[in-house]
Symmetry: C2
Amino acid sequence: MRITHEADYAVRIVYVLAAEKKMLPARDISERSGVTLRFALKILRKLASEGIVVSYKGASGGYELAADPKELSLGQLIECIDGPLEINHCLSDSFDCTRVGDKRICRFRRVFSELSIELRDKLYSLKLSDFID
Amino acid sequence: MRITHEADYAVRIVYVLAAEKKMLPARDISERSGVTLRFALKILRKLASEGIVVSYKGASGGYELAADPKELSLGQLIECIDGPLEINHCLSDSFDCTRVGDKRICRFRRVFSELSIELRDKLYSLKLSDFID
DNA sequence: TATAAAGTATACTAAAACCGTAAACAAAAG
DNA sequence: CTTTTGTTTACGGTTTTAGTATACTTTATA
């Protein structure tokens, strides 16, 4: 029932970029976030592919926050790394529920779905700017 | 960010026992819940050690719901199998947060903690009796 | 009281997910 | 044209998950 370390690191990394408000090379991001360089690069790649950061190649290259901290949410960051925020596997599209009890959708699934949506909404309402001075 | 299959199965199993309102041998529980006998036995042992079900040994033995369905909650069942309901590993007692940003406890950790508590409270407020006719 | 039907306990294993690491490559600044 | 950076793909160790196996104990009942 936990987000992955990788998603947690993604939050740290983006926090560093948002606080800095400028482009930073991956090595600096690694140092300031406390995430190893290699792993930070992997995470930065995912963030770049989602348009959350932009990368600049070559000497004096690096990464910069692309999204507006007032718009970028914790939920978006976490889902970028971990995939959909669902508290039970039965909520995934591919899952075929065989549990008895209800007509069309089992009652447990319904409440898991509602709780997932609530949690997801809250994480999406928490913007990165809320965590910067 | 998901509960385990095992916790999901525990809910199914307890639902069967609550709907039946009587002792059932493990084989029947397995058949009606759709959980393999071996795995169901493992789960039933954990439920028994928490006092959620009681077991009767020997021929014509089986398992019976020990808790009151009006008191027994989804949260209690899930934590019985999966451990504490925390959405980030940084919330566990043993974790030493090194993240910069705040005086004593980092802001991210605070919101993860609040969200975990909210989710946990909701799962504890959902009683098994809410899912029985 | 024998025996078969149940649960108990411990340990094992296969597969998946997680958490990184390695190496070869491509782009761009100076 | 060389050095510094990012890019891509693949690899691998560790942990968790999910489920199984085996040997055992207990007890109803014939």
